[in-house]
């Protein structure tokens, strides 16, 4: 379908002859993801999805205690310092963003009165400014009003490198914020920004109060007492917080949504392990909700039989994939292993790479290891659905792999291992220590051996593998191996910063102390060009097409072999309703709407 046809369909949605849902389904059928379809409609002037009808309470509170279990306890409650999801989740109980991301990646207003769009004048046509109107009458927990000054302050606070925030990058792209009136702010960007929802939305958009943090901007940020005693706008107010252990909170009687929240008390308990957390919710019912259950699906299924809880799954963005090294990790060039100037002795041969892709048995890996934790995929970029390519497919085919290698002249030696021009097909395949990954390694190795490729497996403890230590050769940034496998994910329903990891200027090397994100050392001019073009492309249809093409380049050239597109898995009590897990936001993005059925 070309661009003109697409625009025709969008017009039909606008005039009402085609429903929004039909349109989305059609686009998904065409290989575009649902959020992309949604953004297409949004950009073309169709209203955002309406909040779905749910149970409507007639009064606030009265629901007793909500008990939640995080097997890694939040260690701090300042959203701008939240290094991991656990901290962002803990902060989300008390702090709220202007808008949250629903399961499809759409924006849902929280502290904003409405979502800015081109139609309502909120988004400038040149993509260089966005105007947010704030919800009136919102109060901080201490009774002070939430105003435009707070929004401006959050930007100043986060964008100041001396404060030491982890949200720095989301906010420093903003050139200026003008306060138009007490409840309207205008964000101006230095250059056109197609995806403007990174600051102030979702996990990185939580608002902290100016009047309590003003004195602690910059170098003194650590001393703020409110880092541990949050004062936000959220549905619950802090009672007690013990870093790494527990959070206790009580209902906010002045919450800005009528008749919410439902529960009178809120508890979060941290620590332990995922399996027993699942047990406490699904089997014994001691707790109402448990987060991030990376537990073998068989175990979860067994617990669910006759239990008191259920597993809740939301497609997320994580992609477990194998990276194929383009550089030579075994010879030093100018004193550097895996130098971008070198080429891999055999992995640069398209036949070998093609064969490798055919040797990954995604169906078995999915069924035997991941189950409901994910789905087998051919794409690196799977979501939002408008960015997912339909031009790719995956296959496990030992015969074809053998055939391809035979044709390319890789002959089996007496030991069954293929060789050509004195080079043996022997690969080192590394990953982090994790039961699922070691099982995946074994499945891949078994198939590769049958195809005449010798595979040596290596597993590195996670804290080393995922570190950035320039002196340690075992990190995934160094990638001193032929293949490596891990999961990477997106923070936002937009792939711009996610897809940067294959651009040529991001190649990880000695000169940047192995801190850059392109670990495969792959370089491709078309890819670079597409990435740069998308950065400024304001037409969502063209932009999506760019990303689909980028993904296809990765797959066709077998720069990576995607395996499993992972889901977020949590567990809730059978009686707990309204949780509506979103893969794009915290587990708590709908916390004010959670309730328990009698």
């Amino acid at each position: 379908m070309d661009e003109r046809a697409l625009r025709h369909w969008i017009e039909r949605v606008e005039d009402g002859s085609l429903s929004r849902r039909q349109f989305t389904r059609m686009m998904v059928g065409l290989g575009l993801t649902a959020p992309l379809a949604a953004q297409m409609l949004a950009a073309s002037g169709v209203a955002q999805a309406q909040p779905r009808p749910t149970y409507t309470p007639t009064r606030r509170g009265g629901g007793g205690t909500l008990r939640t279990l995080w097997w890694q306890g939040p260690t701090l409650l300042n959203p701008h310092f939240a290094a991991g999801t656990k901290d962002a989740d803990g902060s989300r109980i008390f702090y709220e963003p202007l808008a949250a991301f629903d399961p499809d990646g759409n924006l849902i207003p929280v502290l904003a009165a409405e979502i800015p769009s081109v139609q309502n004048g909120g988004v400038a046509r040149d993509g260089r400014s966005v105007t947010w109107r704030l919800k009136p009458g919102v109060q901080w927990h201490d009774g002070k009003p939430f105003t435009a000054d707070d929004v401006v302050f959050n930007w100043e606070y986060a964008a100041d490198p001396a404060t030491g925030t982890v949200t720095l990058d989301s906010y420093r792209g903003i050139e200026r914020i003008d306060k138009l009136d007490s409840h309207t702010v205008k964000l101006s960007f230095a250059k056109p920004v197609p995806f403007w929802a990174e600051p102030f939305c979702g996990g990185r958009g939580m608002m902290i109060p100016k009047h309590l943090f003003e004195a602690y901007k910059g170098g003194k940020s650590r001393e703020a007492p409110t880092n541990l005693k949050p004062v936000g706008t959220g549905p619950y107010k802090i009672v007690d917080f013990k870093p790494g252990d527990s959070i206790r909170a009580e209902i906010n009687p002045n919450y800005h949504v009528a008749n919410r929240p439902f529960f009178d008390q809120f508890e979060l308990k941290g620590g332990g392990d995922a399996v027993s957390a699942a047990r406490a919710v699904i089997q014994t019912g001691e707790y109402d909700w448990a987060w991030n259950l990376q537990v073998e699906d068989d175990i979860l299924k067994r617990m669910e039989q006759g239990g008191k809880g259920r597993v809740e799954i939301a497609p997320a963005s994580g992609i477990e994939h194998v990276q194929v090294n383009q550089s030579d990790p075994w010879t030093e060039v100018e004193g550097e292993r895996a130098s971008a100037k070198s080429t891999h002795p055999f992995l640069t041969d398209p036949a070998v790479r093609q064969a490798l892709s055919l040797l990954v048995d995604r169906a078995s890996i999915h069924e035997q290891i991941y189950g409901r934790q994910g789905q087998a995929t051919a794409n690196f970029l799977n979501t939002p659905s408008r960015f997912a390519s339909r031009n790719t497919k995956w296959e496990f085919n030992l015969d074809r792999a053998n055939q391809i290698l035979d044709q390319a002249g890789w002959k089996r030696g007496s030991d069954g291992i293929r060789a050509k021009d004195g080079k043996r097909l022997k690969v080192l395949y590394q990953t982090s220590i994790n039961a699922a990954r070691q099982k995946t390694q074994a499945i891949v190795k078994a198939a590769a051996t049958k195809a005449g490729i010798e595979v040596e497996l290596k597993s590195v403890v996670g804290s080393v593998f995922f570190s950035t230590d320039p002196g340690n050769p075992d990190t995934y940034y160094h990638f001193f191996a032929d293949l490596q496998m891990y999961t990477t994910s997106m923070d936002f329903p937009d792939p711009q910063s996610f897809m940067i990891q294959f651009t040529s200027w991001e190649i990880s090397a000695k000169e940047n102390k192995w801190q850059r994100r392109n670990k495969t050392r792959w370089r491709n001019d078309e890819y670079d060009r597409l990435w740069r073009a998308s950065e400024a492309e304001l037409d969502p249809v063209k932009r999506a097409a760019n990303f689909v093409r980028m993904n296809d380049l990765l797959i066709q050239n077998v720069v990576v072999v995607p395996i499993i597109w992972r889901n977020n898995v949590s567990a809730g009590s059978l009686k707990l309703k309204g949780t509506e897990l979103s893969g794009w936001d915290s587990d708590f993005w709908r916390l004010p709407y959670w309730y328990r059925e009698a």
Binding site: L76, P243, G244, R279, A280, S463, S467, T468, T488, Q515
Partner: protein, 319 residues
Amino acid sequence: MRTYLFRRLLTVLPVLFGISLVLFTVLALAPGDPFEELATNPNVPPEVRANLRAQFGLDDPVAVRYVRWLVAMLKGNWGFSFVSRVDVDQLILQRLPTTLFVLGSAQVLALLIALPVGIYSAVRPYSFFDQLATTLAFIGFSLPTFFTGLLFILLFSIYLDWLPFIYRSDISATGLRWVWENLKQGIMPITVLGLFQGASLTRFVRSSVLEVVRLDYINTARAKGLSEKATIVKHVVRNALIPVVTLLALQVPLVFTGAVVTEQIFRVPGIGSLLIASILANDTPVIMAVTFVYACLVVIFNLIADLTYGWLDPRISYR
């Protein structure tokens, strides 16, 4: 005595200095990064991490960092956690009561089991009771706590549904109910730890009583017509317990630093679980503080044990 104490205290200082130096160097050389979670996130550019590293002084040479730590420590400043950005002493104090309650009770439980059982076994060696106690003791200390812990959870929480297996430090009830809730959730971790320590302690008490009970002065006591009870309690046990007391003194530091494995299983928010979480997160200031406090306690309680020897046994003198 005073010169002895003075001499001992003088040697303690270089020992502590050496310990801190070794600990710090090992931690500094160990691989890992406190900002690992940021590193795995492709949406966080390396500059953000570099900025944080520079802010927390992680890019300075190890020697500079050590001197900075040492000077701060001497001034009573324990530094702050990289992960929670909270002062370390605050973190430790928050967790100390839980650890003291759980491990202290476990220690008491161990004693309550070990003393009567050990003494009775020794007084009637190779009797049926002794054989039974020995067998149980062997089973007790050969089963690791993580195994008994899981067994307890399966039995008492999942099948019988009697006890909670998640320990909460923030029980909101008051009065008697608060005491009861705390006891209820403490039963399993305390029993697991108490039985494990009690098992080895029983063997220890038994052998030390056995040694004393055969001595001549015990026979003399019996010969002069003292009742069996008085002989055992006043003459045997008092002397036999000298080595047991030292052993206990050396275990006190453990009570302060927690049980890493058991705390993890039952989610007891004690110092042990703080230590393991900090190690996993490469949170050097916290690891440093907990291990260093442990080292100090070991050194101090060694000294105390040496001094109590003299008090319990007047034949020992200090020069």
